[in-house]
């Protein structure tokens, strides 16, 4: 039997997309394509935590993924929560560090941002679209079982403890992301190798910063992340 061609009776015409919606569709396609490459980093951004945060960013880059965090919002002129929700929706992977849940000495109050954003991420996984239900999370803390005293609702999840050691956090992040890559297709560095490369990068960073008139201590996330990516490209495995 001959099948009717488009335009003949009985065939529904494919509706043409409004010209204004074409870039929106292209944007959505790009977001879907990049979804599996993005890693949302939900962690404290204070100076004391900075070595751990920078180590995580380096490990994520060196494993071939793209780190994303709330610090992107500073450049974007967008409400911080809206930006965080957008990033969560666009990242398949997320790293949540619950290290800073103790009471602050000055304010005598704990920081709630990290558990709150962990909740948003878990909510997105539970109630989001089909591909968002495949989200994968890594939860970190300084001690392995401390979370049971302040956020017992997530009991049963595997929590990794880094004890405030950048080397340890690199190995944890590497081993976690390694599970998501096909070992037959992609060559990835080992945890100790990434830690060694990170030490080399840390030694090179002040020189790179001085050449670019950047202040090493107040380096914005975009600059740091770009420098990491370019250094990794220039120093292949």
């Amino acid at each position: 039997m001959r099948l009717p061609k488009r335009g003949e009776v009985g065939v529904r015409e494919k509706p043409e997309l409004h010209p204004l919606r074409v870039p929106e569709r292209a944007r959505q396609q790009r977001v879907r394509r990049e979804y599996g490459q993005n890693v949302f980093i939900n962690c404290p951004f204070d100076i004391a935590y900075s070595p751990i945060f920078k180590a995580i960013v380096f490990a994520v880059h060196d494993m071939g993924f793209r780190p994303r965090c709330a610090l992107e919002a500073r450049n974007a002129g967008q409400f911080r929560l809206d930006k965080i929700l957008e990033i969560i929706a666009q990242c398949r992977y997320s790293i949540h560090d619950l290290s800073r849940t103790q009471v602050d000495r000055k304010t005598r109050l704990p920081r709630f941002n990290m558990p709150f954003e962990l909740g948003l991420d878990l909510g997105c996984k539970k109630f989001g679209s089909a591909f968002q239900r495949e989200k994968v999370s890594l939860i970190l803390d300084v001690d392995r079982y401390r979370y049971q005293k302040f956020i017992s609702d997530i009991a049963g999840q595997d929590i990794d403890a880094h004890n405030g050691d950048p080397r340890k956090v690199i190995i944890i992040v590497r081993n976690w992301l390694r599970l998501e890559l096909d070992p037959l297709k992609v060559i990835t560095p080992g945890g100790k190798q990434i830690a060694k490369r990170y030490d080399q990068f840390r030694r090179a960073l002040p020189v790179i910063c001085s050449k670019l008139n950047w202040d090493t201590n107040t380096l914005p996330f975009a600059d740091f992340s770009t420098a990491v990516a370019i250094w990794i490209k220039a120093n292949p495995l």
Partner: protein
């Protein structure tokens, strides 16, 4: 289409192409280079594997043109951040290159 591998094997009169499992050669060439070129064309066409033997008969090299069970592994990609740095990327690359070369 046959997906049997094609072997380049030494013969008294030159180099022969022999299909895996066959005893008799498919064709004979005066030089190994000619035989390899012919074997490669066949392997590409049939999406199979070309196996080159040495004068001693041992396998010297093999090239796969089909469904390679062990494809070559790639190194991971390096992705730039979503929010671009305010500094020109080429300037950063130049600074990183200078530091890398110095090391």
């Amino acid at each position: 289409m046959s997906r049997r591998n094609i072997h380049v094997v030494p013969r008294d009169t030159g180099w022969a192409l022999r299909r895996e499992g066959n005893v008799r050669p498919t064709s004979v060439y005066p030089t190994q280079k000619d035989a390899v070129e012919a074997a490669r064309r066949i392997a590409i066409n049939e999406q199979s594997e070309m196996v080159i033997h040495g004068r001693d008969g041992r396998i010297r090299e093999r090239d796969s043109y089909g469904r390679d069970p062990y494809p070559p592994r790639e190194t991971r990609r390096v992705l730039l951040p979503k929010t671009a740095s305010k500094t020109d990327r080429k300037k950063i690359e130049k600074a990183v290159d200078e530091v890398t070369q110095k090391r």
